[in-house]
Symmetry: C2
Subunit: 512 residues, 2 copies
């Protein structure tokens, strides 16, 4: 007689339990090939379940080839279940959310690319709840005009069904590309036609496509020191050799680049990655002079500039400097255009949107279109068409204007709080231009006898998530008393509370 | 005096025209550094526009650094606009939708990867309107329960805001992964826990991740001959060497694989790509015996099987054979698991959804999670959560059951029509099992003296889009009289009409 152990379990209906236990009985040999199973009516009775529950399980087992019926004589275990399957089948469920790397021998041979990304610290860590966090990538989502967005999503999902099929336009929704071209033309001085734009799954995919299409292993990529980690990781995943170029208050020191190339006997850089609107993490805005020097340098060394304009929308004082892309293409020589421009909607809209864009020299559009098609066909058509309207109906520009005031005020509160906090320990230096969602500050740690890691550690014990500048350097930094303060996601009270806690950490250290 | 030429143009508001013409005047040297501009009031008057239109243009030009104001004296062209920008700036607009490849010299040096994808026929071509098309990848979207889907999209976009942020779960929405695990466990005999699933942007991204993480250039990939072109292109883009293994009515001929490896003095295949549920394009279902032989071969040669189960849901007769993944993992030896299972929602839902999934041996999950995070962070959270509900509320299973009847009937109509059509020319051979959204048919072309390309060409003149089997072969096929008939997107009248037109093509050829 077949004995089954059924339990009341909302997640595993009875027919599933019967199916699984019979299947296991077959695979472990408890039920043998050719063996007859109890009639469904009989089994239902003995288990105290409805007959349809049993027939449902039997049907599935028949469908999957474990059982077969012989008209008039009953249900049998299939003869063709081969011996080598008749082994214990342990539950393959492994530890929930467990992304730790298994040991080498458990893996099939991985590619060199996989080996490289194995070595990178890649996965996101969930922040502890209840922390006040100076995370720099966080816009304030509570102030996003969510109602307008929801309305657009609803309308675009109901008004047409264009989102059901492939668009055959891997470079993106035509109306969205037009809106982007107009928007960055006005706001950023980017000169392009909609056909030069490729809509991507955020900056991440834009950088990934560039790295795949333009880099060979051991190619040199020049980047800012300190600089943006996610970009660095993408270049490292493609086996690029990184050439860190120091940054000052005017952005990348172009003069230093030449020297470094000679000094290291390297090939000229194939790509130069910069964040000129608000250098990450120092916050410097690249001056017009430096921009022109960089363009000239790129022209001379035939390198390509990647202009990541991630934080360009939020500028609180002074006038914006036109994008490198606009300065370059304004020279009119499009076939020699050297700038690939990257924009993202993660900060002005929300990170989960996963939409960004690349502005390419016309000659590069066909190869990027092919790569995007090969990679994932296209970005979400529903989100693209809703976003086109969100920009076209000026919801985006209104939101940006509003947030500029909010963020500008938060920045002031933060600076004020930092200055008050540090008053008794020494001068605090606020670096970077009044722009973006974070600032960099050099804190007076000497009197407290702390280094950056210690301050981060102790602030964390007081539930403040603080970020040292050190991890953003490739080479050891000259000083370890600088910090990145993201203020986008914190309201004014939180900012003041967090800085007060940092003050008490410093005070405690001085007192002891 | 500054002369501007303004036109009435809905797409280019007046302030934009003023901005552009002044900017061009500066960049081309018509307005010189330091030159004074007319006062906004004065210019507005002379152009016959409102003053605010002019100030809007001026403000933008000031913002971008082309103009500056001196209190009390007026608006001037900036001195720091450097000489080398003062050249003609032609409109960079290039031909709309033009994805043809530019000549070599216009491009910056491309990577080997880019060179390879340049050589592939990659981009989609838009079908001519009004054609009756036997495209094989098209489900009937008019029968999709769109209302339920729209309701779910609306609800999930309004009930919570989880879709605004990064989930920190690059492998996908936990509830969707649970629903998928249950669904493929029941329907396909796939044995996995939700943690083994990685949600991807369709099959395309799943294959792309596999190729990147497991393939080195010159690695051998065995695949079905004839076979699926998109998979072939992804392997070629990674410089794989393809080993075509012939297919018969039971699917991949495993015995032939061994012989071919020896014959070609190749390394054993690193990957074996198969479509066992409904072989593309022959329609053969891989027999249980072949499946077990393939698993054993993979175990012996230490190769990895990619099981693309793209068409498994639609089976019109006979019992489904359990997935290779289930047969493999049922052996209980998870650390030696050799099957990567790919599923897609493009056919059972709609192609524009861009959601599919990979089922991985546990040891491979961490590296795929890292690669997905590096690639594009995550798939659309809104679509993932809506899809989880669509499956959980049984809308999907109901839709599949309904479509199985509809498609099954269309398949019968098609077979009947083909048989009647060909009766006077010779026997028609319908190949492939009763499953999927297409069938393969060998048509009697001899009497009409046509080859496959000629029939395709002539059918097209009668507005029928027909697909020969030839392009799906790597090596020249033995016969050129076989065709793929996709019936998913055609209603019964269209099927009959199209086949009638094919009949008239054949009749015309015989008559002449």
């Amino acid at each position: 007689m077949l004995t089954l152990d059924l339990r009341c379990d909302k997640k595993r209906p009875l027919h599933r339990q019967i199916y699984e236990q019979v299947r296991t009985a077959i695979l472990t040999g408890r039920l043998r090939a050719g063996q007859k199973l109890p009639a469904s009516r009989q089994l239902a009775q003995s288990l105290g379940v409805s007959r349809s529950t049993v027939t449902q399980s039997y049907d599935q087992l028949i469908g999957e080839g474990y059982l077969h019926t012989q008209t008039g004589s009953g249900t049998f275990v299939c003869a063709e279940i081969p011996d080598n399957l008749l082994m214990t089948a342990p539950s393959p469920r492994f530890q929930q959310g467990c992304f730790t790397m298994p040991t080498e021998e458990a893996l099939p041979p991985l590619s060199a690319y996989a080996q490289r990304i194995r070595a990178l610290e890649l996965l996101p860590t969930a922040p502890k709840q209840g922390l006040i966090s100076f995370r720099y990538w966080r816009p304030d989502l509570s102030l996003f005009p969510i109602h307008q967005w929801q309305q657009l999503i609803k309308r675009h999902s109901q008004d047409n069904t264009n989102w059901m099929t492939y668009s055959r336009m891997p470079t993106g929704h035509p109306r969205l590309r037009e809106e982007i071209a107009t928007y960055i033309g006005q706001a950023r001085g980017v000169h392009c036609s909609p056909e030069q734009i490729v809509v991507t799954q955020g900056t991440q995919q834009a950088l990934g496509l560039i790295a795949q299409l333009l880099l060979e292993p051991n190619d040199t990529v020049a980047l800012e020191e300190p600089g943006y980690l996610s970009a660095r990781k993408i270049f490292l995943s493609r086996a690029a050799r990184l050439l860190p170029i120091p940054v000052d208050g005017e952005g990348l020191i172009v003069r230093a680049a030449n020297g470094l190339v000679e000094q290291t006997h390297r090939q000229p850089a194939k790509l130069v990655y910069v964040t000129p609107s608000h250098q990450f993490p120092t916050g410097a805005v690249m001056s017009l002079q430096r921009r022109l020097a960089l363009l000239q340098w790129a022209q001379e060394t035939r390198s390509i500039i990647i202009e990541d304009d991630y934080d360009s929308e939020f500028r609180y004082a002074g006038r914006p400097v036109p994008a490198l892309q606009g300065l370059d293409s304004a020279s009119g020589n499009l076939t020699n255009a050297r700038v690939l421009y990257i924009g993202t909607f993660s900060k002005v809209m929300f990170p989960g949107l996963r939409l960004g864009y690349l502005v390419l020299p016309p000659a590069l559009v066909p190869i990027f279109a092919r790569a995007k098609w090969l990679c994932d066909r296209q970005c979400s058509w529903l989100h693209q068409s809703a976003l086109a309207d969100f920009i076209g109906k000026e919801h985006l520009s209104k939101h940006i204007r509003r947030m500029r005031t909010v963020y500008g005020r938060r920045r002031e509160i933060l600076i004020q709080a930092l200055q008050e906090c540090c008053r008794s320990f020494g001068p605090v230096a606020i670096e970077g231009d009044p722009a973006g969602l974070h600032l960099m500050a050099q804190l007076p740690l000497a009197q407290a006898g702390l280094c950056d890691h210690q301050l981060v550690e102790r602030a964390r014990r007081k539930d403040v998530d603080l970020f040292s500048l050190s991890p953003y350097y490739l080479q050891p930094p000259a000083s370890n008393d600088r910090f990145i303060f993201g203020f986008g996601g914190l309201d004014e009270a939180d900012i003041q509370e967090a800085i007060a806690r940092i003050h008490s950490v410093l005070q405690d250290a001085v007192d002891n």
